[in-house]
Symmetry: C2
Subunit: 531 residues, 2 copies
Amino acid sequence: MLRNILLKSSGNHLKFSGRYLKSSALLGSYRSKVSYYSTKIQTKLTSENYPNVHRDSRFKKLTSDDLNYFRSILSEQEVLQSSELEDLSFYNEDWMRKYKGQSKLVLRPKTVEKVSLILNYCNDEKIAVVPQGGNTGLVGGSVPIFDELILSLANLNKIRNFDPVSGILKCDAGVILENANNYVMEQNYMFPLDLGAKGSCHVGGVVATNAGGLRLLRYGSLHGSVLGLEVVMPNGQIVNSMHSMRKDNTGYDLKQLFIGSEGTIGIITGVSILTVPKPKAFNVAYLAVESFEGVQNVFVRARQELSEILSAFEFMDSKSQILAKSQLKDATFPLEEEHPFYILIETSGSNKDHDDSKLETFLESVMEEGIVTDGVVAQDETELQNLWKWREMIPEASQAEGGVYKYDVSLPLKDLYSLVEATNARLSEAGLTGDSPKPVVGAIGYGHVGDGNLHLNVAVREYNKDVEKTLEPFVYEFVSSKHGSVSAEHGLGFQKKNYIGYSKSPQEIKMIKDLKAHYDPNAILNPYKYV
Amino acid sequence: MLRNILLKSSGNHLKFSGRYLKSSALLGSYRSKVSYYSTKIQTKLTSENYPNVHRDSRFKKLTSDDLNYFRSILSEQEVLQSSELEDLSFYNEDWMRKYKGQSKLVLRPKTVEKVSLILNYCNDEKIAVVPQGGNTGLVGGSVPIFDELILSLANLNKIRNFDPVSGILKCDAGVILENANNYVMEQNYMFPLDLGAKGSCHVGGVVATNAGGLRLLRYGSLHGSVLGLEVVMPNGQIVNSMHSMRKDNTGYDLKQLFIGSEGTIGIITGVSILTVPKPKAFNVAYLAVESFEGVQNVFVRARQELSEILSAFEFMDSKSQILAKSQLKDATFPLEEEHPFYILIETSGSNKDHDDSKLETFLESVMEEGIVTDGVVAQDETELQNLWKWREMIPEASQAEGGVYKYDVSLPLKDLYSLVEATNARLSEAGLTGDSPKPVVGAIGYGHVGDGNLHLNVAVREYNKDVEKTLEPFVYEFVSSKHGSVSAEHGLGFQKKNYIGYSKSPQEIKMIKDLKAHYDPNAILNPYKYV
Ligand SMILES: Cc1cc2nc3c(=O)[nH]c(=O)nc-3n(C[C@H](O)[C@H](O)[C@H](O)COP(=O)(O)OP(=O)(O)OC[C@H]3O[C@@H](n4cnc5c(N)ncnc54)[C@H](O)[C@@H]3O)c2cc1C
Ligand SMILES: Cc1cc2nc3c(=O)[nH]c(=O)nc-3n(C[C@H](O)[C@H](O)[C@H](O)COP(=O)(O)OP(=O)(O)OC[C@H]3O[C@@H](n4cnc5c(N)ncnc54)[C@H](O)[C@@H]3O)c2cc1C
């Protein structure tokens, strides 16, 4: 019925290259193979890059007694120790190769009890500890700054229990997200969160960062879907709150504090989470819009008309797609012409025909009204994945010319794109943008617009102090003036520790610091970060 | 197409008395008119009913100086004062007329600044304070135990802002839930929470209790949908966290602590919440099932097949419907015969035809397989409301013979009904159940089975110490042995203060108490309750 339809309405055209997709269990899995960031950069030590940050002398330097103790409670495979920094670079360097610590000791305990013994000892001895999951975090939170001990959760990697009636999964913190998702997929459920790093990041890691990702629009944040946690406190106390109830109103909801705490008040060792029924059908449409106002209109309409089946609403500006094109060399651009803005819409639901029909009605109406001027709908899984690539390739493409300044912000929808415009204007005024040898290629905007989340990437030919000064604190001030967030989903870590004041009031920051002191009085967990 | 179809499959029959409903803006609103609990009982003072609970002598008794201070900062309408208890009974007695305090002073400030001045003064003077919303709570949390000052939020009742693009509503805490819902309904959105008390309870009150209600299955808990709060701390400090971002990872998510804190660590004065697109179509089906295993099967199937349009899944046992029948005198029972279990399914979505078709396919298959043995689908709004009444009338009907012992628990789905069976067996063994003059009519089970939430009501002819001892701690021990919650949605309040240990470990309780002490060192907020 819908195969190869060419809709013509008020001059706009929409290619339905066909829409009968099979149930797409694969959806998203190609994403984990996309490598966003260049790994060719030679990483400098963080302590050299940031000479103003000093090692806190309260922390003990590891002695042979300490090592002997750790060896006495752990097996050989659970201890990685070396005086050669390069041996441990996998643990010392972050995913972007932007931050590099100098730890000489990585512990990879296999049981919660061992995590507890380690922390208890470190707390008594004032040894600083960095909890590490899959080390895919983007704010330098998962690697040491100086000689902190690295506590990796990688060996705590068992699925504990899955209840196919309720859809509740209980697993160790170190289970890789993709493994957890595959496990529940086999039982007709789906993890309520998906992101590009799924092949490496841990379930505990995404909880510790309160990651957002591609399904948040539909399934909400982890604050709603995590039902229980097991946490080892800085003093080694194991707090078992692995509850599996959707509803429990007996006392303050303590687990919420640990969701997004980035390893600063406890080590998450177990997660209990509500998964969602696996959708039977997926659709992806790629649309052209002539203004950002149009993007907003399409979003409001999609939310009302696609409503319960809308599962992603991403936008990309013109420049972001030109950059993507330069990387996706063999790929044909989905549309015939270029446009100022593009939207990627994903629907997922339990009935393919119904979803097709809803999407068709929706698209017909927004085209008829001239809000959408061109568009294409994926015909099969390959096309679906190809359309997603035009969104997914942007981060990598942004730094192809040399480097990129990345900002991950929340803004009111109406102000979302004006940050990109203001940034471009500012960089031009400063005479920094243009052909080589000007340092700036341009600022592009894209992101989870359905969640009010903009990714602003400033593509540069080189890292440059003038560019940095032109951008910061300008970007943070802009976000602050619109009551937005300077970190929508990536967290604070080391990178944004000093910028929290742009999104939180002094009172809120004080309350946050008070809680840190309450739970980690010796401040051994993840120092130099967060607040 | 679907009008008046009689489906016959493997001996089971399903009456489709027709299914074309109009968009049901009214849905749920009749519920606020249902009065669940008898109000004829003469309430005894809580202090007399619980002679073991003593007034904490640290709290100051109000003096004329205190009154003068309050009168100096508040207008006449903001102060209700009387030495005659009956004048203030509206504020001193709870909704069930089970608890009765002796406060002689009710303050109803009109601004947040006044709330702040009041708390600051009370904290300095050690005056105990009970925050009160709509006073519809079911655990005695909203009324004083002794002479605590009542701080009513009823005069803080303005909608502050609504953004029709994002669907984010900001309002004062004292806005009545139904008013908030009507307000956003006019703009094609819906409040993500609905409950029987909506005509009286406050937005701030539902946040303070973390109420669950009828839409939780679909839209999740308030921990996911509340985006920001404005809170006045016990010392009078106003913490403005009225954020309106879906995503913000800058620091611990402080607001989460106040969701479900039942007025023990701060007064909620403002709420920012994400509303949901208003569904265009509703369906309700009332089904018969022969076993509780069948109920579980239907739930798993509904979750998979109705998936994104499933918005309520309630179950009722046979006895609950016999009781309801005794109250719904003029109403015809929806089905021809009696069955051991009934299920009420509600769907809501954006396309009536699609929803009808999904529901039809689903019902055909579960009937064909013999899991559902009889059923009816509402034809119009009146029928839809009538079907809901068979679920909604149960609480009132449960206490028609005299009284009721109510338990609101979370249990793993598979164990949910065994609590009702075990309770009935235990009461019979004790010789307490039977015709008059035996005290117990019987124990019935019903509730939000889709959330693992059982309401166990023991209908009695009189309140009786033998019955109470047979039930408690038996019920709590049962719940505890299955790792359930002794309070799924109503909270702890005064009633369950001493039972938290059945659902939380000593460590968790200690952490909860530590937070209480951290935020309210003088313990002035809502004493004698929670933990
Ligand atoms: C290609 C790519 C795509 C991404 N896409 C998204 C996206 O769409 N949305 C999004 O929100 N994020 C995204 N991210 C960033 C995201 O934060 C991480 O991928 C993920 O949340 C981190 O998990 P991890 O296990 O790797 O944690 P790590 O990077 O190891 O750690 C992150 C932080 O959590 C702490 N931590 C880790 N594990 C624990 C634990 N068990 N207990 C206590 N603390 C712990 C660490 O100390 C650190 O502060 C992306 C990253 C990459 C590389
Ligand atoms: C007919 C009926 C049906 C119900 N159905 C459900 C249901 O389906 N699901 C469910 O979960 N509950 C249900 N409830 C109980 C539910 O807890 C309350 O209706 C509602 O959550 C309380 O709101 P309220 O404004 O009346 O608060 P109140 O009863 O006034 O207060 C409740 C608690 O919160 C505190 N509090 C109130 N406002 C504030 C504030 N602004 N700041 C700080 N603390 C505050 C009070 O001190 C008290 O401890 C029902 C109650 C009734 C009477």
